[in-house]
Symmetry: C2
């Protein structure tokens, strides 16, 4: 069932039917009702491609996921982020288009997205420091919102970010307050902006107490379980071993926990662990030490927030860049305790 058939059925012009369906004012209420009813009964649903071609708008948002040619893994938070964003989009009648872009042909990929004209705006994932995509997208004139930020980019752009600097500063301070002095940092790849900021927070907290960050206690890598395992194992094998770990991801933390266990140590007693973690709300009950977390629901909320920002930018071309900072939560857990040594 297309517009032509529907309007023939109603004995009205396509123009009128189109207007009735799209809420234009110059249609009589009676006609509108009749059209709406027929559309429902006949299960009419407009061809979005044709609509897009006619209007120039596509009613679709692009989510561009950077995929490293080396590991090809998608950031596991993506599912939750898109679930949050999706609610906003579908309410507004937008589709979601995913593009996976390798790190080799980035510029061409973004130019293509622009030229193909299949999206009205873009959410940029996984920003790196000095990310070249930001000036590129500004040049292309496609509305975009960055999930995260890109340091050392001086022109303004729209972003929504978690306050990673502050989160890691607080987590480090917390461990220092518990008496820890040797704190291992198991961080993400530090050309990624979020990981860079996390390390900044970590070192800032140490420096504020007159301590210097020991390079032997810092690791940067793709956050897999084996990476967490190896990193913790190496640090625990040294002479002046850490009494606590600050871990940038739940997955890597799994490996860290395993390494602690294998070393014959007990979490929360011999070694403390603070990690971005998931669904730990239950630990509020009956335990008494904090764990730093980015919950799944906060990631969903970030998705919703970013989507709303982008839709606003699309609706109001020329609008000034929007920014939003989200604070991370601290909740209570058992993996963290006072330093023993």
């Amino acid at each position: 069932m297309n517009l032509k058939q529907l309007s023939a059925h109603l004995k009205l012009s396509q123009t009128t039917v189109s207007r009735a369906l799209n809420g234009y004012p110059e249609v009589s209420e009676a006609t509108r009702q009749r059209v709406m009813k027929a559309a429902r009964d006949l299960q009419y649903s407009p061809n979005l491609r044709a609509k897009s071609l006619a209007t120039g708008r596509t009613q679709a948002i692009g989510h561009v996921l950077p995929i490293s040619k080396q590991h090809e893994m998608v950031n596991p938070i993506f599912g939750d982020f898109i679930s949050g964003a999706g609610q906003t989009y579908s309410r507004a009648g937008y589709e979601i288009v995913i593009s996976l872009v390798g790190d080799d042909d980035e510029e061409a990929a973004y130019r293509n997205i622009r030229m193909r004209g299949s999206v009205d705006g873009i959410i940029v994932h996984g920003p790196r420091m000095k990310d070249p995509r930001i000036p590129l997208l500004k040049e292309l004139g496609l509305p975009f919102v960055v999930h995260g930020r890109a340091s050392q980019i001086d022109t303004p752009y729209s972003w929504l970010d978690t306050n990673n600097l502050r989160a890691f500063t607080r987590a480090t301070e917390f461990l220092l307050d518990l008496g820890h002095r040797r704190i291992g940092l198991v961080n993400g790849l530090e050309f990624m902006d979020f990981a860079h900021r996390r390390r900044e927070g970590y070192t800032a907290a140490l420096t504020a107490r007159g301590l210097t960050a020991d390079p032997a206690l810092m690791r940067s890598g793709e956050m897999t379980e084996i990476y967490g395992f190896r990193s913790a194992q190496e640090m625990l094998a040294g002479s002046d071993t850490p009494t606590a770990f600050l871990v940038s991801s739940m997955i890597a933390a799994l490996g860290v926990r395993r390494a602690i266990h294998d070393a014959g140590l007990e979490m929360g007693r011999d070694v403390s662990v603070i990690t971005h973690d998931d669904d730990l709300g239950y630990l509020r009950n009956g335990h008494d030490v904090p764990i730093f977390t980015a919950t799944r629901s906060s990631v969903r909320a970030a998705g919703t927030g970013a989507a709303e920002m982008l839709l606003k930018l699309i609706r109001e071309p020329g609008h000034a860049p929007l920014t939003q900072m989200m604070e991370a939560e601290l909740i209570i857990g058992t993996s963290t305790g006072p330093a023993r040594r």
Copy 2:
């Protein structure tokens, strides 16, 4: 830059340029080269919406994610699956369109996808038992591949699935061989087909040894960490406590591990755990007991496989349904040991 401009620039008709670009044979080689070069130089990239309108094909694949109105979480494996599928799509020039569909308005949602005509085919995620989407999609005549299967659907359809039945049978047998008799099952929601099959495997292995599955040792729920925690805590609080757990997801297993720890027990000695887990390959080194796993790379492979099946179905309309079974891996870990009691 569009076709019109490009052909004007080349002083050729749109027809010829289009033919040259799309590999039609009736274009002279010289012309084709000239066109190709100009297209590259001028960064021409066809408007997919217009192409789609003209051809009837959309060059896009829909991935439909069921979202429960209660929890609204996306299955965490989705990211890896889409990453695998995406490689195949982009090589073939297809875009990915994501639709989030709540469990309330499913039929309408799928009909809409059909009518809007924005995809050439669909990957169905999260199939339930007797899933009504399968007959619906057959009726709609849209090519589709199910990631997983739907029990009690008798008409043939295309699917790609992990052998969950066999995986959980083997894992249970393995624990039984180690002397375990009280094995807790922390399973997913059992209206989901994969969870149903996993329980079947678990009970089949027990039955084959003359044991009966104890309802007190079986849990079914959405696989969050707190769910794993509570499930294990309850079972460990009983009188005849389990000596092993079979856990359907890594996230839930985190909670199970924590409950074991909180109960003052040690994993692999007092209580064994077998779980679908991630990146545990490193445990092959120096350890000696198996852990059942669905690795991230196997999920990627599933995505690739499903995408290839779907493209084949799209290219050859009327092709008979395709099916593919993937076997789960067993690798070596430390969480599992012989029964102590």
